[in-house]
Subunit: 334 residues, 2 copies
């Protein structure tokens, strides 16, 4: 199943709905509505059917996954029974982020990007990177979905895209082995992990990890494809276009750690939960930095990954500098 | 007001309740119960009173703060009207974490700790630390409260405590100035930001910030003191005991950035939200590393901060190593 999140108009304002995506028929199916109609056909009152449907198929993907393995059965039964009566055309849909995790954990699974990044930034790549599946953590306060606008912060002239796979957890994991981590993924989505390259450089020297250089925007979408629809992750092609010009292309089969490894490693000193988002790290060549190019405000960045759809976002205009050190100030003495 | 979160037994198992803490009378007041009783006295049905009370005073402090400025008025009115009928003795209370943020953002506001930390770890302290209010981000999956047990991960022999102030946001903030950030704090709590010192060292060389060396445990508690009860933050004394021996003591007035500065800085490239937790960073001398000492499994760590109460936790036993590089493996070539 392909599960998306869309915003719809209601008398209370915009509200998010969980939908099954049916690209072949150019439609999405409102899951709670399909379930409510199914329950009504089985004798439920209008009020009870919606109360149950909204509880079983809530707007939050994290909460829906938290209902356990029955989630996909309930969603699938509702779609099979009442798709036609709960459909919305895909034209003009207002897409919300495909997932709503509380935190991003982003790994560095692609060796080609790892080595290219450190070379381009002029930093020493420590050999420990070959022993430890390093990751950093991101705030999800500025998550956007398909057709969203990327915040361009005040302190940067170089906002880069990063072409990644996003993995959504379907279970809780603490101190598990890779073998136990098998089957813990719920699904996959495209992740565009934006970076401020010029501010990232001084920030890394503080040795506390990326903050201002990352958390202004993560894009996830257009939807989440559940693992049963992923035939062979390793054969996925990953591509990124800027204004319809192909800038990046790579293959998922160059990951040096498996997702089982990543889950096992992170779970040693943390606890992964239903709905959490893991990033693969950028595929080799999957950023403008590696190409000596730069997207600019107003540019459109489109990503496509085999089986996961196509995620488009627009680079916003630079925000006003209101307080704090400027790029010039922090890079003056480097 | 002092607001805590406690776990109580229900026919459904343990459930969290938001409480007003009344240390003088050795009791806590179940806020939803006090509100429900008040509503009943004003003519509400039993069912309606609980429905409203649980919505207005939910178990999640983040959700409660999200109800806006009325939260404290509603809580206060309920306590004034019905405290005696909704009281629970403090003896034997099962304390939940005092806050439930989705992410920790932990700063380095105390210069003495900053300089001592880099010296003890043998890393170069980059002068950029004097220009930028650096912070790192932590996962809150392993948050504990008063009387909780600290997870001791498999890969470390040195789990250290860190004595910090925790600030809880009362508003949303993006790209604000320090002046606009005034009055955005909801309250303060004690934060014990545990660190694995031996694993932190190799992890920092990856240049992605602390992960396994931090996210195994953050302790917050015993409760949150709202800002109206904080007379003078700068005069707060901060102390930490291990097994009743005083190890650390410091003063909050040595912070080199104000909380207004921190909020303004973080908000440039992120968005702060109701209920978010900011850490001050460790006060000078507020960790065992700085004293060349080490807590061990089974030790009790107690922290006390003027006006914020006393937060006690117990160091757990080391977990089983199940997968991934050992400490010896990652430190072999350093």
């Amino acid at each position: 199943m392909k599960i998306g999140r869309i915003r719809v108009d209601t008398p209370e304002g915009k509200r998010v709905r969980l939908v099954a995506v049916d690209p072949k028929n150019n439609r999405v199916i409102d899951l709670a509505k399909a379930k409510a109609l199914l329950l009504q056909s089985q004798g439920a009152t209008d009020a009870a059917s919606w109360r149950m449907a909204n509880t079983m198929l809530p707007p939050s993907l994290t909460e829906a996954i938290g209902t356990g393995k029955q989630f996909l059965d309930v969603a699938n039964d509702a779609v099979v029974a009442r798709a036609d009566d709960a459909s919305i055309t895909m034209d003009g849909i207002d897409w919300a982020p495909s997932a709503d995790p509380s935190i991003v954990r982003d790994c560095i699974s692609f060796r080609a990007h790892l080595e290219a990044y450190f070379e381009k930034m002029g930093h020493n790549l420590h050999p420990l990177h070959y022993k430890m599946p390093a990751y950093y953590k991101g705030s999800t306060a500025n998550l956007i979905g398909h057709n969203g606008t990327v915040m361009w912060p005040s302190y940067t002239d170089f906002v880069d895209y990063e072409l990644e796979l996003g993995f959504i957890l379907g279970a809780q994991a603490h101190n598990v082995t890779p073998d136990e981590a098998k089957d813990m993924l719920f699904g996959m989505t495209i992740l565009n992990d934006f970076s401020s390259r010029d501010y990232q450089d001084p920030e890394m020297l503080l040795m506390l990890g990326p903050t201002q250089s990352k958390d202004f925007c993560y894009a996830v979408g257009p939807w989440v494809t559940t693992m049963d629809e992923i035939e062979d992750m390793s054969s996925m092609e990953m591509k990124a276009w800027v204004n319809d010009e192909l800038w990046s292309s790579g293959k998922a089969d160059t990951m040096r750690w498996t997702t089982d490894d990543l889950i096992a490693y992170i779970s040693r000193g943390d606890t992964l939960k239903h709905g959490d988002l893991l990033g693969s790290g950028t595929v080799g060549g999957g950023s403008a930095l590696e190409l000596d190019r730069r997207p600019k405000p107003g540019d459109t960045v489109r990503m496509e990954v085999t089986g996961l759809g196509s995620l488009t976002v627009v680079m916003g205009q630079k925000e006003e500098m209101r307080w704090g050190p400027t790029l010039e100030e922090v890079t003056a003495d480097l």
